[in-house]
């Protein structure tokens, strides 16, 4: 066990898997010599050589396109998109190609790539360094979409994603790279070193995709969240004084509907939180599935707490961010409804 922040945990996942499987290659903009603008690939080129860890042209579509070809060859590419906001030039290769290759070829070819991309706001990155685009991927059949909330989970989930034979979009909430940010931006950040999930085994382990984690058991209300919002919701539950059961989804597709439904059937109440903008966000799908699976148990309307339906603004970032006050208010609404 070692104390790791999320960057180190991701680096460790890459290191451990690359050591085990010579077919894993890592590439992307600035990931080679420099080790990535967030340092997630630091040291890997030195250790595994320039042909397994390398820089690329600034062409996200080319990065994904070549990765698909490498996957068809038999390699297992793990690519970095520097910011999730810059994944759109690769959208066609992801949606039309990676996601459908196995299906359209009758299982003859597949693209076992892992696409890592830092996502989310709260770092004064403005509209192009803050986005959470998970919902556009969860709508695409053939892609898996994962977002961790702790270093421990990040490593175990990333290893499972890399070893997965399907394409996985692995979104890393950069606001929690260094510590479990709870939305109180006015307070100093607690580092991961002080959090139990900052203790990470140095060796290999997997967290299977599709298994949610109940991070706070509770009786009054079910809260569904992922990424940074898990910590915001935990803080909000304390502040609202609500006995919330907080579920960290970890993987959005595949989704652990069993865990979700069991909890909502128990509590009868549900709040869903995400940082992405509201309309058509993954919260809509969660609300739909909860409604479908738990309608007769629901005692109050489900509420969503989300980013607003606007781009992520630079100066108003804390007005945009669905912080603990907004989540707490929704919790109270739902509990008192």
């Amino acid at each position: 066990m070692a104390s790791m922040n999320m960057i180190q945990a991701i680096n460790s996942a890459l290191d451990v898997t690359m050591g085990r499987d010579p077919d894993i290659v890592v590439f992307g903009e600035d990931v080679g010599y420099f080790g990535g603008v967030f340092r997630c690939t630091a040291g890997l080129q030195k250790k595994y050589g320039k042909t397994r860890v390398f820089d690329t042209p600034i062409a996200e579509g080319g990065i994904v396109g070549t990765a698909i070809g490498m996957g068809a060859y038999g390699l297992r590419p793990v690519i970095e998109i520097q910011f999730a906001d810059y994944i759109y030039p690769a959208f066609d290769q992801l949606v039309s190609e990676a996601a459908r290759l196995r299906y359209r070829s009758g299982g003859g070819f597949h693209a076992p790539l892992t696409v890592r991309a830092p996502c989310g706001g709260g770092i004064f990155g403005g509209q192009t360094h803050s986005q959470s685009p998970e919902a556009i991927f969860t709508h695409v059949c053939g892609l898996k979409t994962v977002m961790p909330s702790t270093p421990y989970d990040a490593k175990g989930l990333l290893i499972a994603a890399i070893e997965d034979d399907d394409p996985v979009i692995f979104l890393e909430p950069k606001r929690i790279y260094n510590g479990p940010f709870d939305g109180h931006h006015e307070r100093p950040l607690t580092p991961w070193a002080k959090h139990p999930a900052g203790e990470v085994p140095e060796d290999y382990y997997r967290i299977e995709l599709g298994q949610a984690s109940i991070v706070r058991p509770g009786a009054q209300l079910t809260v569904l969240a992922y990424g940074t919002m898990v910590h915001v919701c935990l803080a909000a539950a304390e502040e609202a004084g609500v006995d919330a059961e907080v579920i960290d989804l970890r993987s959005l597709v595949p989704l652990d509907l069993d865990t979700i439904a069991r909890s909502v059937q128990k509590t009868g109440r549900c709040v869903i939180a995400h940082e992405a903008s509201r309309t058509g966000g993954f919260g809509a799908e969660l609300m739909a599935q909860v409604q479908e699976a738990c309608f007769w148990h629901l005692e109050a309307p489900i509420e969503r707490v989300t980013g607003w339906d606007t781009p992520y603004p630079h100066a108003f970032e804390w007005t945009y961010f669905p912080g603990p006050a907004r989540v707490a208010k929704a919790m109270k609404n739902v509990v008192e409804a």
Binding site: V25, T51, R52, T56, P57, A59, G61, G62, G65, T66, A67, I68, G69, M70, G71, A72, Y73, G74, L75, P77, P89, D92, Q93, S96, E97, L101, R102, Y103, R104, S105, G106, G107, G108, F109, H110, C141, G142, K144, D164, D165, D166, G210, V253, P254, L255, L257, D258
Partner: protein
Amino acid sequence: MTSSAHEPGAALRLHVPEPKARPGEVPDFSGMSVPPAGTLARPPIDADEPALREYPYALIRVLDDAQRAVGPWAPALTPERLRAGLRHMMLTRAFDDRMLRVQRQGKTSFYMKSTGEEAVAVAQAYALDDGDMLFPSYRQQGLLIARDWPLVDLMCQIFSNPGDRLKGRQLPVMYSVPEKNFFSISGNLGTQFPQAVGWAMASAIKGDTRIAASWVGDGTTAEGDVHYALTFAAVYQAPVLLNVVNNQWAISSFQGFAGGERTTFAARAIGYGVPGLRVDGNDFLAVYAVTQWAAERARRNYGPTLIELVTYRAAAHSTSDDPSAYRPQDEAARWPLGDPVERLKQHLIGLGAWSEAQHEALARELEEHVKAQLREAEALGTLGTPPAGVESLFEDVFKDMPPHLQRQLAELKGA
């Protein structure tokens, strides 16, 4: 443009390309330069790109007007091999003709012919090794035919019948044949180009000896993926052949809308420091020779080559298209580079290795072969015969079926 458009202070004007002739007009290929065969040198395979800058503007041709093989690019192919090539081209054409009829009969939804372009696929397949990986567009069925893949398998895909190994999921002609190192064809134009580069990079990463080749049409060169492919291929010196099949048309748009008015598609290569070769795409021997040069170059770690194959789409774009609405009906007949089958046939006759009678006999034999294969395929069903059980609808979305798809499958079965 009149000169007033160029005077100081003149109003700006938008140039919109226009082909030389539209329906009802006389086809006009006067702007196209067709240099004599055999005049261009064959450079060493390790030549640097700067030494090759004339090639994108030239046209490598081996067969002269009398269909004799001339000049340094003439490949050393035995008459047997040439006859085999002729046979594969003729088989491709017979297959296309039959499949068009089958579609017209309503036995499938869609078909795309490669008529007039058979030399591209067949000669290129001949110049590559069987282990080399092919990332084709929808108009290189000749690659599979040249690799001796059974027609019945292609037909079953076209019929989406129980013999279709793609389980009825793909539009007809979007084949995928791992056994023949033939990658799954995509309906999305150009996407295969960077994928081929990635495959080639992987082969280089692993110290393999197999190279990759990919094909796009003239129209498709405008897609970003083509730029990605060239950039990555150049940067990492990937062992890959990037082929642009310039058949003059992209559905109703002539190649001027992809930039062909101002320069050649082979010239794109120059911008990346990659060799660009331009070849008479209806000249089996020239296509073979150029491909073989580029393949050897790639295999010996001298990096990628872009090849523009100049040809003509003699048939409609697809069964959904009617070209008489946008180009003169007799344009194909007036195409200056002739017909690839006819040219190779005459070449073989000139060699004394073939005759009209043999040719006719072969044509009949191939037609019979196609018919026999068709009977076999039709026996398994045509469009409308379910290719598999409904659960196959939910298979292969992921390697293992996740719970939500299991639930949907149950819902479907319950419905």
